[in-house]
Each structure stands twice: as structure tokens, then as C-alpha cells.
């Protein structure tokens, strides 16, 4: 016998396995419940005349039960497949639940709306690609970091790269780009630097005795009458590429002349300094000349 009131009293006040009391209210877990709330009108067990909508893999069914079938639990629910279209579904519901209580019909339609929206959302989400969250096994991670460290040490990266680059250099990949003969390049640089230094020296040392020097040289020429050498000397100052022999001769002559004149012109301290520096410069020139000869 079906006694809805008795069932409801038992369910509500004694025990119901579908009821779940949480802080926000009392809810029902029964899948046939239309609203999901535990109350008299929406309890699927305590209502002998009841209808609901259920979802079977995206297809909605209208479930109805009546008191006539209450004694046959096997055929308790009458099931109607609902069309995919929302409006048509509403029509079907209206047709099947024509003389049912208006409140229940309204609840069912509300549920239908909610479920349709949910279905749309689910399909959208299914189409979207989502990032998969992976586990990070601590053991493997640690092992890999350990092995990586060791592999890096074993690789000796700088050495390996240098070796590879040198191999390429030898294979001539860099030919004509910067594969200069380094020695020659450096030597030319050296000589250039030396030249530059020489010039600097001359300039800096010439500064404070220039007048005396010129005078002295004139004296030289006048006294000894070696105009030829003087000319060659000038040349040597101008051109670094002058011949060695010439320079050496010159030096000798000049030294001799110097010694001769030192005694007579002792009262000028600048000249001595000047002369010495002068000789020094010339020696440097010789060196430079030699180097250049060696290089070319």
C-alpha cells in the first residue's frame, strides 16, 4: 500500500539515506529528485505521482510515475525521450504533463532549462584544449638533476667548443675572413707601435733643446765640413727604411764629432743630453728598420 504521508514522516523525521544535511540546508541525493531539495513536494519517494528529467549521456528523458504502477517497481517509471530542440521539448513536456500539478510542471521546466545550459557548457569545454596537469615524481627529478650535473662535468664544454672551433679553423672554414697569419699581423702591429713610440719620443725630447740642437748641428757642419753626411742624416730621420750601413757610418762620425765638440762646448748642458738622446733614437730606428725588413 502506498501511503505518501507515512513515508514522508518516516523519511523526514526518522531516516532517509538520500538526505544530506549541510550548513546551507537539507538536500536530497536521489537522482530522481527534480529540485535536489529535501521537502514534501519534491521528494520522489513520498510522492506517488511524480515526474522528473534525467540525462543519459547527453540525451534527456522525461520520467513519470503514477499511483497505478506503484505496486510494480519494475515498471514504476514511464520514460519518454525528449527531442534535442528546447522549444519542442517544452511542448512534449506540456503534452505529457497536461493535467499534472502546475508547480511540478514548472519545476520540471526549470530543470530542463538548467540541464540544457549545462549540456551546452559541457560541450564547449570538451572542445577546448586544456593543459594536462602532470605529476612531478620527486625521485626521478632528483636523479635527473644529479645526472645532469655529472654530465656537465664530463662534457667539459669550454674545451669541447674550443676544440671544435680550432678544427673548423684548420679545415679552412674561416679562410679569407680573419684567418690572418697571426704572427705577421702582430709583428706589423708591433712595428707600428714602435714607430709611434719613436715619434712620441722625438717630439717630447726635442721640445726643450730644439734651438740649441740646431745651433750645434750647424756648428758641426761648419767645423768639420761634412755636408754629405748631414744630408744623409736628415734622410734617416725622415725615412725609417734607410740602409743600415749608412746609419752606422753616420753614427760613428757623429760620435767622433761629438767628442771633439764636447770639450769646447761644456758650458751648454742641454747639448749633451740632446746628443745622447739623439743617438738612442737612431739605434731604435735601426731596430725598426731591421724588423721591417724581416717581416716583408
Amino acid at each position: 500500500m502506498q501511503h505518501d504521508e507515512v513515508i514522508w514522516q518516516v523519511i523526514r523525521h526518522k531516516h532517509c539515506s538520500f538526505m544530506s544535511k549541510i550548513s546551507t540546508g537539507i538536500f536530497c541525493r536521489n537522482p530522481y529528485n527534480v529540485t535536489g531539495i529535501c521537502n514534501r513536494s519534491s521528494c520522489p519517494l513520498a510522492n506517488s505521482r511524480y515526474a522528473t528529467i534525467r540525462d543519459h549521456d547527453g540525451v534527456f528523458y522525461l520520467y513519470m510515475k503514477t499511483i497505478e504502477r506503484a505496486h510494480k517497481p519494475n515498471d514504476l517509471w514511464e520514460r519518454v525521450k525528449l527531442p534535442k530542440n528546447y522549444e519542442k521539448t517544452l511542448e512534449v513536456i506540456d503534452k505529457h504533463l497536461m493535467y499534472w500539478p502546475k508547480l511540478l510542471v514548472h519545476k520540471i521546466k526549470q530543470r530542463l532549462t538548467k540541464m540544457t545550459q549545462m549540456r551546452i557548457r559541457m560541450r564547449k569545454l570538451a572542445l577546448k584544449t586544456r593543459e594536462k596537469i602532470m605529476t612531478t615524481p620527486r625521485k626521478e627529478k632528483k636523479r635527473e638533476t644529479r645526472r645532469e650535473e655529472k654530465a656537465e662535468k664530463a662534457a667539459v664544454l669550454d674545451k669541447a667548443i674550443e676544440k671544435e672551433l680550432l678544427a673548423r679553423l684548420e679545415n679552412g672554414i674561416y679562410d679569407g675572413i680573419y684567418n690572418l697569419p697571426f704572427n705577421k699581423f702582430i709583428e706589423t702591429l708591433d712595428t707600428d707601435e714602435l714607430k709611434a713610440e719613436d715619434e712620441n719620443e722625438e717630439e717630447s725630447e726635442v721640445e726643450y733643446v730644439e734651438a740649441n740642437f740646431e745651433l750645434e748641428e750647424e756648428d758641426d757642419i761648419e767645423d768639420l765640413g761634412m755636408k754629405d753626411y748631414h744630408i744623409s742624416n736628415d734622410n734617416a730621420v725622415d725615412d725609417d727604411d734607410d740602409e743600415e750601413v749608412n746609419a752606422v757610418k753616420e753614427k760613428r762620425v757623429r760620435r767622433w764629432s761629438k767628442s771633439a765638440h764636447e770639450k769646447s762646448e761644456k758650458d751648454e748642458p742641454g747639448t749633451k743630453l740632446k746628443k745622447k738622446s739623439r743617438i738612442h733614437v737612431e739605434v731604435d730606428h735601426e731596430d725598426g728598420g731591421e724588423r721591417q725588413k724581416a717581416t716583408f
Binding site: R143, E148, A151, E152, A154, I161, P181, F182, N183
Partner: protein
């Protein structure tokens, strides 16, 4: 104890005169007993210490003998005994059937037919699209800006919320040749996805130990020249394929005067990325100092003796890659066909490598 009795019995059979001798033999046997089988702890540790000491002495003796032999050989002008080669993980690597030999025609034929051949044969110029995962912050953008300076003709596009498949489609339309996706986790780049276009493979790498330029001591700043590429140790078929994938990211006509070199060095399946500037120099020696005073004919000799060395200055990021999987075709997690996937059971031996 049974052995002892037996021994003594056999000795007894021969004659009682040998009794003392047998005792000596017993002592010798005792030293050979494993210390772990002795139950008295004091005794056990004593025996163990003695054994260890003995081993140490033996080792030292061996070393000395070897050194002496070498010295003697040197004095006599003979060839010294061959030096022992230490066993490393590299030279005891498990044999791999796919390790390529230089005369592997099949490989070269395969290379000609693969997806990268059009780029590597200068038919197409590489054009790279760099993007990120959906959430990208802190070190991610910094890393990308450095990647942009390393890889010429690379363009950064914001990821937005686009699907990777859509991005692949877009890049195909814009005639990009590769896509690089930098994946960030917890504000730290931890993955790199390289997709060859239009139908090239997709390689997923784990990225680790990233050091950015500003954190490298004495780093240099790269020029805008096209860098040259060094790919070291890519030996197997898979390794060659990965190497070619990486090669296809960079222009095939490097500007050698830029003296920039980008290195992908494979060691034990870890691919180490480095970016350097280099310069060649002759090694300084005494000969170069006395160069000026030497005669002309001595010069040639000194040139021959001098050694050219390459000096490196690191610039740009430094990181390590490890291949997680290689997928045939462009990115497709659901229906994709994988050429190679790293599985946990591959890690069971530390001497088995795949690249």
C-alpha cells in the same frame, strides 16, 4: 671447523712431522676469511682494518712500479708502457644499434628526404615564431628576450588564449618554419616545445638549470651577426634527427666575422646549450718575445711552433635540455603519432643513451 678437522686428518695421514706446517697453512687461510663472517666485533674490525691497510699498500706498490717502468723506458729511450685509459660512462656506454657511422648511406638518404632538408639546403630561410604557455611571468619573458637575441629572424607572439593547433595553422599561413613554445611552471621556464613546420616533427624537451645573461659573470653582449652552430655528440639516428631539428632553427649561412657560436652539446642525453663569442689567438711563448732580434730564417720555425688557441666569452643564456618525446607531425596530443617517448623503464641503466 669441519674443514679444519679434515685438513688435520689428511696431514695426519701423511705423518705427524708435518703438524707444524699444517698450522701455518691454517693461519694463512684465516686471513682470507671475510671479516664480515667474524662474529666478534673487535676482532672483525681489527681484521678489516688490517685488510684495508694491506690493500692500500698493494695499490701504492702497483703505482710505484708503473711509474718506475715509465721512467726507465724514458731513460732507455724505449716506448713507455701504454697508459691506462680510465673507464668512463661514455666509453662503457651500452651498445646501440642505431649509432650512425660516417659511411651510413641509409642515413644520408633519409636526411635528404626528411622535413628539414629544404631549410638545410638553403631553399627556405628559417623564420621562427616564439610563444609561451598560457601563463607566463618573471623569468619567462626574460628568457624569451634572450632567445630572440640568440636566434636570428625569430619573432615573439603573445600566446593569448589561442590553441596551439590554431597557432600552428597561423604560422603555416605566415610561412614560419618553426615554432618554439616556452613552457613556464611556477614562474620558472621548465619546458621547450619545438615544432617544425609545415609538417615537421614536434620535440618536447625538459628545460633545466637556466642561467640568464645577467647572471653570468663576465658575460659579453652578442652582436646581431648570424651565429654559427656547433652540434656535438649527436650520434644515433634519433640524435641526428634532433640535431637536424635544432639546425633548422638557425640560418645556414652564418656570418663568420661575427665570431658568435651557439653550441648544443649532447652528453649522456642532456643537451647543453651555450652561447659564446670567440677569438683566435696565438699562444704566447718565449719565441714571440725574442722575435725581433732573431734572424729572418729563424722566423719561419717560430711560426710553426706557435699554437693557435680559441678564447671564449660566454654571452646569452645557458640551459640544459632533455628530450621527453618526439612526435611525428605537428603538435597533437590526442591523435599524434610518437616517434620516440621517454619512459621510466629507460632510466634503469645509467649507461644507456638514446641521442
Amino acid at each position: 671447523m669441519g674443514g679444519k678437522r679434515k685438513n688435520s686428518e689428511s696431514e695426519g695421514m701423511e705423518g705427524d712431522n708435518d703438524g707444524k706446517n699444517s698450522n701455518k697453512k691454517m693461519k694463512k687461510e684465516k686471513t682470507e676469511i671475510l671479516p664480515s663472517s667474524i662474529k666478534n666485533k673487535e676482532k672483525r674490525s681489527a681484521v678489516h682494518a688490517k685488510l684495508k691497510h694491506q690493500k692500500k699498500l698493494d695499490k701504492r706498490k702497483k703505482l710505484k712500479a708503473r711509474a718506475a717502468a715509465e721512467k726507465r723506458a724514458l731513460e732507455l729511450g724505449e716506448e713507455p708502457p701504454p697508459k691506462q685509459i680510465p673507464r668512463t660512462i661514455e666509453n662503457t656506454r651500452e651498445a646501440d644499434a642505431t649509432v650512425c657511422m660516417p659511411d651510413d648511406e641509409e642515413l644520408f638518404a633519409g636526411n635528404d628526404a626528411d622535413e628539414f632538408s629544404s631549410i638545410l639546403k638553403h631553399d627556405r630561410t628559417p623564420k621562427i615564431l616564439i610563444t609561451t604557455c598560457r601563463f607566463n611571468s618573471t623569468r619567462g619573458p626574460a628568457f624569451i628576450s634572450e632567445l630572440l637575441s640568440v636566434i636570428p629572424n625569430a619573432h615573439y607572439y603573445k600566446r593569448g588564449t589561442y590553441d596551439l593547433k590554431k597557432i600552428v595553422e597561423y604560422a603555416n599561413n605566415k610561412e614560419f618554419t618553426s615554432i618554439i613554445v616556452v613552457h613556464t611552471n611556477r614562474r620558472e621556464p621548465d619546458g621547450l616545445l619545438i615544432i617544425g613546420l609545415p609538417d615537421g616533427p614536434t620535440a618536447h624537451f625538459k628545460l633545466s638549470s637556466l642561467v640568464l645573461r645577467k647572471d653570468i659573470k663576465n658575460h659579453g653582449n652578442p652582436t646581431s651577426h648570424k651565429p654559427e652552430l656547433v652540434l656535438n655528440n649527436f650520434t644515433t639516428r634519433l640524435g641526428h634527427r634532433i640535431g637536424r631539428l635544432i639546425q633548422s632553427l638557425f640560418p645556414q649561412d652564418p656570418n663568420f666575422q661575427g665570431r658568435r657560436v651557439v653550441t648544443f652539446h649532447n652528453q649522456r642525453d642532456f643537451i647543453f646549450f651555450r652561447h659564446h663569442r670567440y677569438i683566435f689567438e696565438t699562444k704566447e711563448s718565449k719565441q714571440s718575445d725574442s722575435k725581433g732580434k732573431k734572424a729572418k730564417d729563424a722566423k719561419d720555425e717560430s711560426i710553426a711552433k706557435e699554437k693557435v688557441v680559441a678564447h671564449l666569452q660566454e654571452c646569452g643564456p645557458r640551459f640544459t635540455l632533455k628530450l621527453v618525446n618526439l612526435q611525428h607531425g605537428t603538435f597533437d596530443t590526442k591523435g599524434g603519432e610518437y616517434e620516440w617517448v621517454h619512459k621510466p623503464e629507460m632510466d634503469t641503466s645509467r649507461r644507456r643513451f638514446f641521442l
